[in-house]
Symmetry: C2
Subunit: 165 residues, 2 copies
């Protein structure tokens, strides 16, 4: 068996995030249905649509390295999404639900940010310039989503605190 | 049953990260043993020691809200650490192992960064000034560790690419 290289690591991690993105798209639908604040609901719907574009970019990256686009179970995203579903269940009807949903969504975003940051660095090292560019585009989108969620979080916690008072 | 509030969400999330930190401390030991580069090995050992201080800060936060310090299974960190262990197994002996270990450690850091950021915001809203300060201290440590790993990643991918050439 040939020694494993950075190219193998890149391919393995690409499969991991490809699986994760498809799980995330479906989780965002549930989160949008759960959200109480209209702006938050919209943010989840918009990001679900963006996620579709991110999946297509990943497919393009698979093509650039001559591999078939396929996912590989990603236990990290399974765990992160399990926690999101737990929050929806436990806090349904509570004024704190939105704050919990945002926290869960930010855990998802940070997982993506770290994976895309890593993949972009590896693509550069491997001389995959076009792939690095695609990964960078997605990374920028994820960072913007995370910033928007941070802003919405302030509204959500204020609302939760007011209703609870 | 009383309606769930932001204080409940804060307490639940505190239990989640308390469980996660103890898992992370043990995973960092394994990562340090696996690392090939001495600087990376040192970074893992230093962060394992820091993690002990972070656990103590969490115990102080539990005390500040008059709760017993106890964890609650955190499926997210379980999944993130499972992936780290998979990398160690699959890439042991490969020049790409360090790059993989750093990616895994950054996934851990980003999970912590998002959780501590959220907890600090909630603590502020709940008027828990001292707790917010403690959470902010840990958040700063986690961010510094993430930055250090980003630097070490460049060395690791260069080494992997060189050895593979």
């Amino acid at each position: 068996m040939a020694e494993k290289t950075l190219a193998d690591l890149f391919h393995e991690t690409l499969k991991d995030i490809y699986y994760a993105e498809r799980k995330i798209a479906s989780a965002l639908g549930k989160m949008a249905r759960g959200a109480q604040d209209e702006k938050l609901k919209d943010a989840f719907i918009t990001h679900k649509e963006e996620t579709q574009g991110q999946i297509e970019r990943l497919q393009a990256v698979f093509e650039l390295i001559d591999k078939r686009a396929r996912g590989k179970t990603c236990p990290a995203i399974e765990g992160i999404i399990d926690e999101a579903e737990e929050i929806i269940e436990e806090f349904m009807g509570s004024p704190a639900l939105d704050a919990g949903l945002i926290a869960a969504a930010q855990a998802v975003e940070h997982y993506e940010i770290t994976r895309y940051g890593t993949l972009r660095t590896w693509a550069e090292q491997l001389g995959l310039k076009e792939a690095a560019g695609l990964l960078e585009e997605t990374l920028a989108e994820e960072s913007r989503t995370d910033e928007l969620l941070t802003k919405l979080a302030q509204t959500a916690v204020n609302a939760a605190a007011q209703k609870a008072a």
